[in-house]
Symmetry: C2
Subunit: 345 residues, 2 copies
């Protein structure tokens, strides 16, 4: 991506030199993006009749990621994926990102190039252009803020509000994997810190480690929904955990949800690792974050189409608000869904 | 703005509680902004036939601001102003902002409320809605990232490129004031740290202190340009200093500029403080940043209209690229314009 491949202090390049480097590496590809990096603002031409969707997310070292086991290329990739996922959660299509990076002096030019190489891979994968951003120093650590811009027809937009009593509650892919991947990486980090001569034991856990370090956004499911003329009545992406996101849909839509434990899609590797850690796999599935799967409601008339989709699982349904948000266990017991707080507060 | 007025740990409120507080304090007012805080993305309805302008800026404690002399309300105000100024610099009108705040545990709920009170004041003043953002903790300091969204007709957009040889080079307001305000605040901070019993001597310097702590964006000039059917051939806002911004216009427009020292608009307070500090007032004007004035080029046919505008000064002109970017001193000597590097690298 970049020509320079040595250990280079960023000060030797300067802010404008660095911006020029990024600008050269990210030519605009989409017709929506008219002006990108190098002006006071990016210029985007809205698609005829569509609304603009925009969201911003900040990722802080040692809060959202640990440089010890997060390659910067993966970090760059993940920050874009998490942002694109927000546009998916509105049933829209992302087309532009802006990235602000604040970095301490421990980060060399090559480190930032690696970060932006991950950004570029995600931009290519998800067909979005990098159209702007900001770079600044900070006394300690690394902070990456990503703003994503997308679009959707107004009648197609899926908000968090809009679920109706009787709607089916669906989730894409499988859940809890990113959380168990994180547990594994954290364990191996502790082992390494105590016994630096030992190699981390990540063998046979590619799936959950990948879920944590290299998640993907469900543009495929959004495309399928659109192609199938199915508009979710409400939708959210799973960044804080299924329980927390379900409660968001409940609050904004003014309904309650029943979730069936036996329906929760949990991968075998996630399940095994949870058992190994002494964690209830259902807890990992309900409260583990960062899977970036979609949680949505649809009218019951779409039952057959959804039931036959290999990557969508119907896990419950919406009901009157006066009923509680509950999980129905495999044994038929009811448990109230509990909101996950802000862990890093 | 907020009802709670005590010293409150943010952990007692939680992420979602804090977001609800902000959401309640920032109802959407503009028709463009359809969905704001509280969903996966904001929804903006583009104005018929207009393009979207979008820019992002990050402000880091002890790099861009010093909490010792920057009230958080001013900081919140300034971050929005600086962002709105980027949209002005494209000759557009801002209508939405998204704000990401990363804060360490030293920041209480009340501190963040003060920050957002400043954001609200700027939103009211500049008629923009807060439509989204993110909040997260960080180990040290405060980082504020602002994304601003605006719009303009495509034929009205002023990029950095577009200046032609012979165009007039104009600047709004006066320059160097924010820089001299910063020098004064830094001096008084040093005095205070050495002699805590002494009061800071900011008397009679409201103007330059205000330029540093509470700058404004030139929406008035953008409106006048539009009302007068004058479209700048190129434009940029002055955040890094007149010399640096002139070089940006030069590079992107492929022309060179001649700047007349005697034309530089410098306020008397700025001038006096520069003399007091032993700084050449011209240096303050050419290299001082953060004035958020507009620097732009226009065709010579608009000479009379511009000459008569009380807040616009014609300071030079564009010429062939083969000539250098130079300042012509009051004595008639030529000095090459020098780029200001990235001071905080």
């Amino acid at each position: 991506m970049f020509e320079n491949a040595e250990k280079t202090e960023l000060s030797s390049l300067g802010e404008f030199g660095f911006i020029e480097l990024i600008r050269g590496a990210f030519p605009l590809k989409l017709e929506q993006n008219i002006v990108g990096i190098g002006d006071d603002a990016a210029v985007i031409k809205p698609e005829e009749g569509k609304n603009i969707l925009i969201s911003t997310d900040t990722f802080v070292e040692n809060v959202h990621f640990d440089i010890m086991y997060t390659p910067l290329k993966h970090l760059g990739y993940k920050t874009v994926v998490a942002s694109v996922s927000d546009i998916c959660a509105m049933n829209g299509k992302a087309h532009s990102v802006l990235i602000s990076v604040s970095f301490s002096s421990k980060y060399t030019l090559e480190a930032l190039e690696e970060l932006f190489e991950g950004v570029r891979l995600a931009c290519d994968k998800y067909s979005v252009d990098l159209v702007g951003g900001d770079t600044t120093t900070i006394s300690k650590g690394l902070v990456v803020s990503v703003t994503v811009v997308g679009s959707a027809n107004s009648e197609q937009i899926a908000k968090r509000s809009g679920a109706n009593s009787g709607d089916l509650l669906c989730v894409t892919g499988d859940i809890g994997g990113a959380y168990m991947g994180l547990q594994l990486l954290e364990r191996e980090k502790r082992v390494f810190l105590e016994h630096p001569e030992m190699q981390p034991d990540l063998q046979n856990h590619d799936y959950i480690v990948g879920r944590q370090l290299k998640p993907e956004a469900r543009i495929d499911v959004v495309k399928w929904l659109n192609d199938s003329n199915i508009i979710p009545t409400s939708m959210i992406d799973i960044s804080d955990g299924l329980a927390s996101e379900t409660l968001h849909l409940s609050k904004e839509s003014d309904v309650a949800f029943a979730v069936h434990e036996e329906k929760l899609p949990v991968d075998q590797d996630t399940y095994n690792m949870a058992v190994e850690f002494g964690i209830d796999p259902t807890t990992a599935a309900m409260n583990g974050g960062e899977d970036f799967e979609l949680l949505f409601t649809v009218d019951q008339k779409h039952y057959e189409e959804l039931r036959n989709h290999p990557d969508i699982t119907i896990i419950g349904y919406a009901r009157e608000k006066s009923m509680k948000n509950q999980m129905i266990s495999k044994q038929g017991n009811m448990y109230d869904l509990v909101a996950q707080g802000w862990k890093h507060f």
